[in-house]
């Protein structure tokens, strides 16, 4: 994991990919996210940590408007992607989600072949003119997903037949196949064993070359290992946001301190 060396962790905050300004999210009457302001840098891994129900996943899902599918969910404030408000009326969430890909907690390959899993996104977005181009996109995505060598001989076998870790990497390959600019990951390793987790973490670090990656995780060690920036959410508030090294050695807020060091309160 040479990329994760400490020297390399310096974050260039001059290229802001996503900026959230005064974001509030309500589920019916409950106030899930309270006035969150955050700036997420390009080509950086940003980790969202916090106890269950703190709103980190909710906030993540706001970033590609996945919350739109929930009727009672209401979002106020501005979320800017490349300085464009993604909650603007003119924005089509489908177009947005092509730019902001997502990988979920549970590996959820489609019950189709490995090839079709990866090819689905490019197909519906019309990224390939012909079969050869599509083949190329699929191979590239699977290579990026660090799973090409394992599946190249059985591209037409069902994706659901892979192991958990392979499935998750397949899902990552599927997400990168549409050439997104931001990759959201909602606890991508929570269902994986340590080896698969390490492989996915290595992959995340490689993806940082091209994407802005935002990862929600319950494992603070994982946040510490893969991210350059860490945001700590607590009861819907963004309590602390800073360089990962600083958050884990010297957090400024006592709530962060208690949470990451496993203390009561």
């Amino acid at each position: 994991m040479n990329q994760m060396s400490l020297i390399d962790r310096a974050v260039d905050m001059t290229h802001i990919k996503i900026a959230a300004r005064g974001v509030n999210v309500y589920y019916g009457d409950s106030h899930a996210i309270k006035d969150v302001n955050v700036e997420i840098a390009d080509k950086t891994v940003t980790a969202f940590i916090g106890p269950s129900g703190c709103g980190k996943s909710t906030f993540l899902r706001c970033l590609n408007r996945m919350n739109d599918t929930i009727d009672i969910c209401r979002v106020t404030g501005d979320i800017l992607l490349d300085n464009e408000d993604i909650y603007d009326k003119r924005v089509d969430p489908v177009q947005l989600r092509a730019k902001v890909g997502m990988v979920f907690q549970k590996p959820n390959p489609f019950p189709k072949s490995i090839y079709d899993n990866v090819a689905y996104g490019p197909r519906i977005h019309g990224l390939a003119k012909n079969k050869a181009e599509l083949d190329e996109i699929v191979e590239k995505a699977l290579r990026r997903g660090a799973i090409w060598n394992e599946v190249k001989d059985r591209l037409h076998a069902p994706g659901t037949g892979l192991s958990g870790g392979q499935q998750q990497r397949l899902c990552i390959a599927r997400a990168v196949a549409t050439e997104p600019e931001v990759l959201l990951m909602d606890e991508p390793c929570s269902a994986l064993d340590p080896i698969a987790t390490a492989q996915v973490e290595e992959l995340i670090d490689e993806l940082r070359q091209d994407y802005s990656v935002i990862i929600v995780t319950h494992s603070m060690q994982q946040a510490a290992r893969v991210s350059q920036k860490t945001a700590f959410f607590h009861l819907g508030n963004l309590v602390e946001y800073g360089d990962t090294g600083q958050i884990f050695t010297n957090p400024r807020d006592p709530r962060t301190e208690s949470y990451i060091s496993g203390r009561i309160g």
Binding site: R97, G101, M102, V103, F104, P111, K112, T178
Partner: protein
């Protein structure tokens, strides 16, 4: 092995304590209850099947008499000129029967007309139809296989006894002697009767001639209507309700009502069919196709009945598709519709199919609403003249036909009702087998 001292159990696992014993006993009791319940269920099912087979199988056989009839041109011309044409033909048959008897050496002094009571009243029509269709055979002797009367048939099947004939004015003991001798001579026998499966209904006087075929066509046409209306409507409604509709009071209300509709007695749908389709659609609006006894109307009524079933089962199938699949599709930038049609629907297809076929099977077995819209058994006397005519020509359906037979007085019809049930069950079985095959087909695609 270590030399560590062996610990002694606080309580031995080798001895069951009182609580465990009680628990095991109650478990064993429960298993017995369960087995008993299954046993009772199986016993009922067995009784049902035995009764159906025992009573119904004879309906597939019928008593036939082999006769040589000379098609005398003079007699035929005479018959054609009379008002009661078939009666004259019947007389010809009776003569032929008498001749047949003397030929095989059976002595009788019964008068030919009375002798003719042994044969079905349909034979006259049978000879006439043949004679008119084959003028080239005129003057020749043709061998016919004609139906025995229902009494003779009943005697052959053991349903009619000599004692019972004492009160019967159609047949007497002498007939039965002749029947016995004819059977011994091989001229009269029980044979498989395809006309029961493929024929049309007959009048109350001629149970031996009645068949289920036309009603089968009626049922089939209705199933077509139900399938092609309720499946697309039901699936579209379910997809909208399940995947797109915002959760509001209105959709809650719609949901509750759909569930309630599934429990509405079918007769209500029947009266609705009469009022809406026949009286309003056919009467007030003057749509000619919506007429009384038309399978099209029957199909529409059954569609109304089947829709809730299909909607409920389709929604259940859609609900059973894990949300992660939808999220995955949305996550790579599919629209909601793409997510549903590319991923959710294929996964829900087996469930939808099962629901649809259960709905169809229900509709296939439905009787009450059909009776209200006039699809009663006795209208199923003629095959429709073509595919489109089959939708509008008055017809019945299998269960309505069976009901019709069951309520007629003659025990010969009663036997046919049981036989009809066997055919109906075969169709239901076929539907279920199709469902199983389709489901396994779809499920094999992971």
């Amino acid at each position: 092995m270590t030399d560590a001292p062996v610990s002694k159990p606080k309580s031995s696992l080798l001895v069951q304590d009182a609580r465990t014993k009680r628990r095991n006993a109650s478990e064993a009791r429960f298993k017995i209850y369960g087995l008993a319940a299954i046993g009772i269920g199986c016993a009922f099912l067995l009784t049902l099947l035995t009764a159906i087979l025992f009573n119904g199988v004879p309906a597939f056989k019928q008593t036939f008499v082999t006769l040589s009839v000379t098609l005398d041109p003079a007699a035929i011309e005479d018959a054609e000129n009379s008002t009661l044409k078939t009666a004259k033909y019947k007389a010809m048959v009776s003569e032929a029967l008498l001749a047949e008897l003397t030929e095989v050496g059976i002595q009788t002094d019964m008068d030919p007309t009375k002798l003719g009571d042994m044969l079905s009243s349909a034979t006259g029509d049978q000879i006439r139809t043949y004679a008119l269709a084959h003028p080239e055979q005129m003057g020749q002797t043709v061998e016919f296989t004609v139906l025995g009367s229902s009494r003779v048939d009943g005697y052959m099947k053991g349903r009619v006894t000599r004692e019972a004939l004492a009160n019967d004015k159609n047949l007497d003991a002498e007939h039965l002697d002749i029947v016995d001798q004819l059977a011994a001579a091989g001229k009269l026998s029980l044979k498989f009767n395809p006309a029961f499966i493929f024929g049309s209904d007959a009048s109350e006087k001629r149970p031996e001639q009645a068949g289920l075929g036309v009603s089968v066509v009626g049922s089939f046409i209705m199933m077509l209507v139900v399938l092609f209306l309720s499946l697309p409507i039901g699936v579209a409604a379910s997809i909208y309700l399940e995947e797109f509709a915002p959760k509001s009071r209105l959709t809650d209300l719609i949901e509750v009502n759909i569930s309630n509709l599934a429990a509405v007695p079918s007769i209500v749908f029947g009266i609705l069919g009469v009022a809406v389709f026949i009286q309003f659609g056919g009467g007030s609006l003057g749509i000619d196709a919506l007429r009384k006894s038309a399978p099209l109307v029957g199909g529409l009524v059954l569609t109304l009945m089947t829709l809730p079933t299909i909607i409920i089962s389709t929604r259940a199938a859609l609900k059973a598709v894990p949300p992660s699949i939808r999220e995955a599709a949305l996550g790579v930038g599919a629209s909601r519709m793409q997510a549903v049609f590319h991923h959710v629907l294929p996964l829900a297809a087996p469930g939808i199919l099962t629901g649809t076929i259960i709905g169809l099977a229900q509709a296939l077995g439905e009787t009450a609403p059909l009776l209200l819209i006039g699809m009663v058994g006795f209208v199923a006397t003629n095959y429709p003249s073509g595919f489109f005519d089959a939708f509008t020509a008055p017809n019945s359906a299998m269960p309505a036909q069976i009901y019709e037979w069951a309520k007629r007085a003659d025990p010969a019809f009663y036997e046919r009702a049981w036989g009809g049930i066997i055919i109906l069950l075969v169709f239901l079985l076929a539907l279920n087998i199709i469902a199983v095959i389709l489901r396994s087909r779809f499920e094999r695609r992971w």
